[in-house]
């Protein structure tokens, strides 16, 4: 469950690169404990040198983008590993919205489960946002409206992004997906009982080796 999504204004950063994978978003070294500082680990291999010092050329190390709340990214963002820590790292860094032409499937689902807005944009919108961030690089404050599915640039021009209506509404409500599914529990358990009859082979209990009740 996540808090209801609130419209906001914040710094947008252009994050260039096709096929940014989740290993890059949060390297495996940050996944070795149950309580890592994921925000610090975000893009760690590109953000820090071997001594742990920030690499000045990396966009999120630069003012004002180190305060970015919105990432404008390229195709197939978040491919690779299923690690949900990629979304946690983005959010703990402060990112609340990623806009890109396309997202990898698992990251896309993980984002909604955590209240991170992921919106699809066409190539023309990407080019316009890219230009707006460049022009307003000193103070690239953009406004996100989820109910309108728009991002408004510092000149006041609104650009559309795509989010399935039902997913947008779920974000705005801050739905607890598990609670919603548990609302269908009677149907799930009915289904399970029927399946035990129709597909008994799927119901051998690995704890006992015997068919489960």
């Amino acid at each position: 469950m996540s808090a209801p999504f609130q419209d906001f204004s914040g710094m947008a950063a252009r994050f260039k690169g096709t096929n940014i994978n989740t290993d890059a978003i949060i390297p495996a070294a940050w996944l070795r404990t149950a309580h890592a500082d994921f925000g610090r680990g975000l893009f760690a291999r590109w953000r820090y040198d071997d001594a742990g010092n920030e690499i000045p050329g990396f966009v999120l190390n630069q003012e004002p983008f180190r305060r970015a709340r919105i990432l404008v990214a390229d195709e197939n963002f978040g491919c690779g590993s299923s690690r949900e820590a990629a979304v946690w790292a983005l959010m703990q860094f402060g990112i609340r919205c990623v806009l890109a032409p396309s997202f990898a499937d698992i990251l896309y689902e993980n984002a909604f489960r955590n209240g991170l807005l992921v919106g699809r944009i066409g190539p023309e919108t990407l080019a316009r946002l890219d230009a707006a961030i460049t022009v307003h690089a000193q103070n690239p404050v953009f406004a996100i409206s989820l109910s309108e599915t728009t991002i408004t640039d510092p000149d006041g021009t609104a650009h559309h992004f795509a989010v399935p209506r039902s997913r947008a509404e779920a974000l705005l409500r801050g739905d607890d997906e598990i609670a919603i599914t548990l609302g269908h529990l009677a149907d799930i358990e009915d289904f399970h009982k029927r399946m035990q009859q129709s597909m008994p082979w799927l119901h051998r209990d690995p704890r006992t080796g015997w068919p489960s009740a």
Partner: protein
Amino acid sequence: MSQSSSSHIPRSIFEKIWASHLIKTLDDGRDLVFISRHVLQETTSAPAFKKLRETGRAVRHPELTVATQDHIVSTEPKRDEATNPGGLELLRLMRANAYANRIRHFGVDDPRQGIVHVIGPELGIALPGCILTCGDSHTSTVGGLGALGIGVGTSEVEHVLATQALALTRPRTMRITFTGPLPAGVGAKDVILHAIGELGIAAGQGCAVEYAGEPIRAFTVEQRLTLCNMSIEIGARLGLVAPDGATFAYVRGREFAPTGDVLDRAMAAWRKLPTDPDTRFERDFVVDCRNLAPQVTWGTTQQDVAGVDQCIPDPSSYATAQRRELAAAAISYMGLAPGTPLEGIPIDVAFIGSCTNSRLGDLEAAAAIVRGHKVASGVRALVVPGSMSVKRAAEAQGLHHLFRDAGFEWREAGCSMCVSINEDLVPPGARCIATSNRNFEHRQGPRSRTHLASPAMTAAAAIAGAITDSRRMMLI
């Protein structure tokens, strides 16, 4: 549910399995699907159990759930839970969470421990026609049995633990038909790498991919597991192969597989799973493998791949600016130059293992190359069996002696050098040829350079000290 459909609309295996697990379609258009198998590993489940405790929710179907320790375990000979001190916290949490919730746990002390995607099929937990989820992107591996394996994040792990169901957007259907026969010395790893090279790493986005064609029918079940393993690397939600007699023979007698009358009923149902003739797929591709050479990647995504007889491409040869930039950056990261033949590129490390290629057939294929040879001086070569069962089966053939005598390390089961979350790392700047699935920047350790290839190609490179055509070593 009714198996006797009066519908005349031909259906794919994916559609049949999906329909057999469909509880209901929700108002938002997503399908609420029953998850008939849930498999846990230690690095993506601890926060899920923590949240279950915080919300007071129970694990609904522990009897449909199993757990193992694979990602962060040490693979040192005679290891235990504490051998890699950095992994102890997550390993203990996995064990404690499994015990507290009455979930069957195959830990490092269990003779059946191994990589989650290796032990699922091996123990008969993953079965044809099931929907199996796991907090790991390579869950599609079990598609090799004709199952739907769906990789999910930790929130969805929690969701499945609490409800045994998931609300999912139904994937689009896609088919890749391979044209054979395959040349000698070319196998499942080469075929899937070639498909990714031809179609691209995002080709399968949002899709359930069925692999078809004569070469797939000729593959063993283990080879089909290898093929389906890399479905995520083509961007797909899942990938699968229709079950057949080879599948049924593989499943029969597995520890948790059905037996007796129940097995007979299961097989009757499984025979109806294959895609009906004339089924239409939303996306349909043909990939020609008739003249395929052993494949090896040269860049930092799996679509950066070529036959071993090819050269590092010139980035300017790509049609789009985007691919030109990606290729140039990849070649630079890899420390290579355009036009360099792949054959002869010296390697520092050779890694045989991972959920892609760590099964008995993989180790046998590598051993056939290694027999009578030594690992080149200066090369670190490792064999990491995918499970302790694989390890024992290989040792029964004496393969541990063969590998050790040649200069390979013979290690305990785990994810090892595929994922660099444990102690098995490629040193900074070093070049590794690996049977695993990801050649991303820094994947095998900071500044590691990875070339993906088959077990035979990886074994051949270990012997030669450089990338080499494994087919030549087969003739010696």
